[in-house]
Symmetry: C2
Subunit: 541 residues, 2 copies
């Protein structure tokens, strides 16, 4: 993106030199170049970093793993002309409508004041309004004039700046040329990432059970997710290493040894495991050994929870945490461990602001963020300007970084409470004779294993592998149907299954995924009770 069309003045905001509650500056925005305030003019995330890259290594180059499609992508010829725009030049080049033809003169959003979020949780709305002329008036760095027109593919600099600062604060990347782009949500970010790396007929490594949409995305592109063994702490590094050491192209239909690992490190969907720091380090070491590239899909990073203690009272923090306190409660990301630039981290506002925003962000080596941008340029383009206006209003004008951390701390407490209610309900209402589960420490999901040995439909006659697997699917379906008869909808574990690696043992478990995110809180226990009734009926307990 060009930054040539800059404005001479920097508008001072409350965020210049953000401070935490101890009044220690977290960073100083004044060191950054001024924001471009023109239409369709962006700025790279590099502009918004506040810590020096000096002494840090650049990321490894990834030319050798880019797909044919991604390798061949070129910058937009038309947008390339923008570098000729200088002050005083009249622009007859781009087919960009005049803002006088946008039929919205103002947009207002009401959201809670940062100071109201914690400890009171009485979320009083405060109104923020933007019009078409706030930038011209000098009262804002973003307005309808900019947001409702075409925007830079990286996302409006006004929001990209906030997100880049947020990434730097939380993850402190260790290599020099890390970069950030906004996305239109993680589903799209995964689609773009898979197209950047995957050719038909190849394999991508992933947790043995993983997000069903990613399984289907890979399939649609002619690739396959290959399951790495998992335990309560997520992906097992020894299994990852083993699969790669023993890679046998003949067994995998001629596919080359995979280089891409898709992992959901926190609150894994669906198995609800969270990789502890030591586990992440071990997985990263395997990645270094085999020169792998990691897709870190971390939608549930912010939904890490306090430990389960059997108490189902809602127990929000008594004071807003300091930034350091907040950060100490999170397991460090792969991005923050990444010394080589071998991680593309995929974040989203969906679970922390609203899925309807269709905005997220992607962080990784500048080389790959550039490839991402080249693809988005002729596809998704930028996130919605209406969404970005709303995010700007709340993140930049209303909250600032500290207020956002207050909000994230509030969500943490809320999800901890919801998790507590569901876990307690599982202990109280699921038959322990045939079910087991691990207490989630992040995310939205509870993953229930049902031991079907005593299920009346178990078929002891056909012990072939295909026979046993079909039998398990039949039993899974019977339990699922029984649950819907009891008026509760759960997700079948088989939806999340990946391909079996060579020498891998077939998992003869039957699983169900339940979420504590969606239902009204006071119905979670009742829903789990119904599922318990369904299981008991199925097993004749």
């Amino acid at each position: 993106m060009s930054t040539t069309e800059t404005q001479p003045t920097i508008i001072s905001t409350a965020l210049d030199g953000v401070t935490n509650t101890q009044s220690t500056p977290l960073f100083n925005r004044r060191t950054c170049p001024p924001l471009p305030l023109g239409v369709a003019v962006g700025a790279p995330s590099e502009n918004f970093k506040t810590r020096p890259a000096a002494g840090k290594k650049p990321a490894r180059r990834w030319d050798h793993i880019l797909s044919l499609e991604s390798k061949g992508r070129k910058p937009s010829n038309l947008k390339g002309t923008a570098r000729y725009m200088k002050p005083g030049v009249l622009n007859l080049c781009g087919g960009v409508p005049s803002s006088e033809y946008f039929p919205f003169s103002s947009i207002s959003t009401a959201s809670p004041k940062a100071s109201d979020i914690l400890p009171s949780s009485k979320l009083q709305p405060s109104l923020q309004t933007l019009t078409k002329h706030d930038v011209a008036d000098g009262t804002s760095e973003y307005d309808l004039n900019i947001a409702l027109n075409y925007g830079p593919t990286l996302g409006a600099a006004q929001v990209l700046r906030f997100v880049t600062e947020h990434v730097e604060l939380l993850h402190e990347p260790l290599y020099a040329d890390w970069a950030v782009t906004l996305s239109i949500g993680s589903t799209s970010a995964l689609d773009i990432a898979f197209r950047m790396f995957c050719e038909r007929g190849t394999y991508v490594l992933a947790e043995k059970f993983t997000f069903s949409s990613t399984v289907q995305l890979a399939e649609a592109l002619g690739a396959k997710l290959l399951g790495v063994e998992v335990d309560d702490e997520g992906m097992v590094p020894e299994s990852l290493d083993h699969i790669l050491n023993e890679w046998d192209p003949a067994y995998y239909g001629g596919a080359p040894k995979p280089f891409l690992v898709y992992t959901i490190p926190s609150g894994q969907n669906p198995t609800a495991s969270t990789q502890p720091l030591e586990r992440r380090k071990a997985i990263y070491a395997v990645a270094e050994k085999h020169d792998l590239f990691l897709l870190e899909d971390d939608a549930y990073y912010y939904l890490q929870m306090d430990p389960y203690n059997g108490n189902t009272e809602y127990n929000p923090p008594q004071h807003p945490p300091t930034f350091q306190e907040y950060k100490a409660g999170l397991v460090p990301s792969f991005l923050s461990l990444d010394t080589s630039g071998r991680v593309l981290r995929i974040d989203t506002f969906s679970k922390i602001i609203a899925p309807g925003a269709r905005v997220g962000w992607v962080t990784g080596p500048a080389q790959l963020i550039e490839r991402y941008q080249r693809q988005a340029e002729f596809g998704t383009q930028a996130p919605s300007g209406f969404s970005l206006l709303a995010l700007y209003n709340i993140l930049e004008k209303e909250w600032g970084h500290e207020g956002f951390f207050n909000w994230l701390a509030y969500l943490r407490a809320s999800y901890t409470h919801r998790r507590d209610v569901m876990v307690k309900a599982c202990y109280d209402h699921l038959p322990a004779e045939v079910t087991s589960f691990t207490t989630p420490s992040a995310g939205m999901f509870q993953w229930i294993r049902v031991n079907v040995a005593s299920h009346p439909k178990v078929n002891q006659n056909d012990q072939s592998d295909a026979g046993r697997q079909q039998n398990l699917l039949d039993i899974e379906h019977a339990i699922f149907e029984s649950a819907t008869e009891e008026q509760v909808l759960v997700a079948k574990g088989s939806l999340f299954k990946t391909a079996l690696h060579k020498g891998g043992a077939v998992d003869y478990g039957v699983y169900f995924r339940m979420t504590f995110a969606a239902a009204p809180e006071d119905q979670i226990e009742e829903a789990v009770r119904r599922f318990g009734v369904a299981i008991r009926k199925e097993f004749g307990l």
Copy 2:
């Protein structure tokens, strides 16, 4: 999309039975099934058609032209579970956050009242506000609770309904199973459509000069746009027929005869031609003859203009046009001529509401809209809920269909005026000795041909084809640079060039595209004057 989670009541709105100014009902919404009012629950456009399909043929099937990727796409397994949702069932299935964790309690948009748009054009803002509980309160069919959560891939039924009605009113499709999906804008719709049809190494037919982003999109996917000859009325049907009749795979690197035509029928980008009705019929006849499929990219459909009469006064209509008057001013679309279901029509709100919305719509045979949906499901997903809320506020709550047509008539008058100013400036300031142009009757662009025979840099020595073409690029660049020195930015015609068909004559013209959409209206003449100065200097005139 499932429609199982419906509500028993239909909320009556001002739009039930929309009337035009003669109070003749344009259609009766009461015949439609009720809108689904749950979270992430959609409805197909079929629900919103008001005219009977009886007596109409279904569309031709297109299985034989779908790409490997598109053919293999399956519906989301997880979303498939939604059909088990019935009233009373508690949902622990989808990872959908509770709306209590959306930090927005209300969103307001200010937009002009329908009655203010014409004739006064004094656009007084009227405020529309939505909160989280309007649906529960029975005061709206759409609210933050729905819009800010995950939405159906087709787009929220609340907006899809309006768009489907709009399509039916304007295009009156002739075959039975036409369908509509919302898109996240035409760039994405084209990306999806090209991936649905194109394999690497194939050709897609298009106007000889066409939108540079589509040229680059095709290239990135390993396909190529092949230029069909154009004249002042756009694509020449005889040229299209000729290229297909004479198709020689050996000449085209083994590529099979193309089946896909990409056309911009109104205000073609960049050549500014608009195909008259007879031309469209002739192109459609060639499509029938060769069993082609048409991608109708019609971003400038609504920017069709009144004839140029040399007058540069702004001359808006003295009364809001009736629907019939408004419609009579538009050349019928390919969609409206399509008896076989061989057109995928791509529309956008970018040029008529705001590009920042990133919302458009795609209309075509239900088979292909379903394929589109399958791809979007694991990619773009739905448009932004913030955008859809804003569109709902303005289209449904503020304007209704009539108000929207008033707005479109206002835009028509405004763009007619801008076009008039630019065309007059071209007559007044461009040197007629070396430039020529056609007066645009739609769109945003003016396309200038520069006759370079007398340009001082013309190289008479190297008359090889490569030599002549490079010489033209050099001259084009010299004129472009001269223009930027005069402080005006125009787009080089060579950016829009497609591949030459077998036997096609190389076009030795040099072209520039100028837009009258972007610049402040009072700077258009000055910008054209500067371009005129630049050309004169280049030619020593």
